[in-house]
């Protein structure tokens, strides 16, 4: 199975390490022709404004926009901003794969970055049976302000959705790649299979 990581900018390497642990050597995606035989793609954390700029320069914007509508995709932090239908603070363009409204840097700046345990929903419990809490690493993180009824919540932090899913499209505002656990990567690979 071929899984890609968008590698224009950002935290590519920590995702690579997680996927390798799970037996997958991912493809670093920089050009449109690399999308054709991928089972799924991770849009990593980084700076969303930089990624939008580079997606256009490398002629990936429209091919990726098409890819994420139907194929398994997981956006983390900046990646979740790319997937949202509406982006605020400030407004910016996006790939519009998930019917959510997301606010950038919504907890504040780096001094307001934090780590806290998350609460899972029953959908997650069906997939992953453990008592161990999932750790959420939030770095200049965005917040999901609104979500459509066809978007389900996988994880919450203090009653707010921080990881959501519609069909095979996932968005998390926190960084599982910076923790010791591989379980959310396993979940994403199960969608790719």
């Amino acid at each position: 199975m071929k899984v890609g990581i968008l590698a224009l900018q950002g935290a590519v390497q920590p995702h690579e390490e997680k996927l390798k642990k799970l037996g997958i050597t991912p493809i670093q995606v920089r050009y449109p022709e690399q999308l054709s035989d991928l089972a799924g793609i991770i849009l990593p954390g980084g700076e969303s404004t930089t990624m939008i700029h580079l997606l256009k320069l490398n002629k990936l914007w429209f091919p990726l926009k098409e890819f994420v509508q139907t194929k398994p995709t997981w956006g983390i932090c900046a990646g979740s901003i790319l997937l949202a239908k509406t982006v605020t603070h400030p407004f910016q363009e996006s790939l519009e794969a998930l019917d959510i409204t997301i606010e950038r840097n919504a907890y504040g700046r780096q001094n307001e970055s934090f780590i806290d345990n998350l609460s899972e929903t029953s959908d997650w419990k069906k997939f992953f049976k453990t008592d161990k809490a999932i750790e959420g690493v939030f770095i200049r993180a965005p917040r999901i302000k609104q979500l459509a009824s066809n978007v389900k919540i996988i994880f919450k932090h203090k009653e707010e959705a921080v990881m959501v899913q519609k069909d095979k499209c996932l968005a998390s505002t926190f960084h599982p790649e910076l923790t010791d656990s591989t379980c959310i990567h396993e979940y994403f690979l199960s969608l790719c299979n």
Binding site: A7, L8, Q9, G10, A11, V12, Q13, P14, R30, G45, G46, E47, T49, T50, H53, L54, L57, N58, C77, A78, H89, P90, R104, N105, G108, R109, Q110, N111, S113, F114, I115, V137, I139, R140, H175, L178
Partner: protein
């Protein structure tokens, strides 16, 4: 990751550095330059009072940027904003932390405030980046709490030779550590002047425990590419951009080249029509006191 060594705070600090990888961080002195940098695709901007080449030219004591300038820049862009403080000047660092900057650069580009000690960076919630010429210096800074290392290079020179020297020194010293037996590491720590636990970590993992970026003298897209090949994970560009003939175009080109550093065709294409880069200095002709990279201990 260094989080095994120093815990949760460090995970958040190096975490932001992870997010900046594969990108370009640009020196800016005002709101207009910050907006140009963001539009060109910079992952972050560095707020400072004067760019290094002007500091070099004008002389005098170079200090932290005035707070109102830092705030103006923070208000103008949505990407992270870094700011420089003088080596050892923890009071400037406290001011920058209270302003809410995203990263503090304890920088040799400014005039050092302490000729013996660097800042105890563990004491701060805001992460720090520090310059280094070699592995010992890098590990001393990490030991003090730096969450990102950049080469010192020779800032404001427009000459990449020192950044190359520092990247190569780091790389070969790291490689050497991985070949040593465990009984040799304590002596190596002594020779390097570096904390033993960090020497052990590097010997085991074959890399620095925090991200490693290039800085100092990068003036063209190909300069940025060179440093990426030599192991830099991102690039700081100081005077190079806003001292060139066409800053907007050059900023854009360096961002594009850094992402596509393995693709010389793209690098060639984006290097066209940039006008003349900053003039540049022969670092061998600089007097010892003019070498900014000699600052820091």
């Amino acid at each position: 990751m260094a989080n095994q060594i120093v815990g949760i705070e460090m995970k958040l600090k190096t975490g932001l550095a992870e997010m900046l990888k594969g990108g370009v961080i640009m020196d800016v002195v005002n709101r207009e330059q910050a907006v140009i940098a963001e539009k060109a695709g910079a992952v972050a901007v560095m707020a400072l009072e004067r760019v290094p080449s002007d500091i070099r030219k004008e002389g005098g004591v170079a200090r932290m940027s005035p707070p109102e300038i830092v705030e103006e820049i923070m208000g103008a862009v949505s990407i992270p904003v870094m700011a420089k403080c003088r080596i050892g000047h923890f009071a400037e660092a406290m001011v920058l932390e209270s302003l809410g900057v995203d990263y503090i650069d304890e920088s040799e580009v400014l005039t050092p405030a302490d000729e013996q000690y660097h800042i105890d960076k563990m004491d701060f919630k805001t992460p720090f980046v520090c310059g280094a010429k070699n592995l010992g210096e890098a590990l001393r800074r990490i030991g003090e709490g730096a969450a990102m290392i950049r080469t010192k290079g020779e800032a404001g020179s427009g000459n990449v030779v020192e950044a190359v020297r520092h990247l190569r020194a780091l790389r070969s010293q790291i490689r050497r550590l991985t070949t040593l037996g465990s009984e040799e590491l304590m002596n190596e720590a002594k020779e390097l002047g570096a904390p033993f636990s960090l020497v052990q970590w590097v010997a085991r993992e074959g890399k620095l425990p925090v991200p490693n970026f290039a800085a100092g003298g990068i003036a063209t897209p190909a300069d940025a590419v060179l440093t990426m090949y030599l192991g830099a994970e991102s690039v700081f560009v100081g005077s190079g951009i806003f001292k060139s003939q066409n800053p907007e175009k050059l900023a854009h080109a360096i961002v594009q080249a850094t992402t596509n550093y393995q693709n010389p065709k793209i690098v060639a294409e984006c290097s066209k029509g940039l006008g003349s880069p900053m003039r540049g200095l022969d670092v061998n002709l600089l007097k010892a006191e003019e070498r900014l990279s000699e600052r820091g201990w």
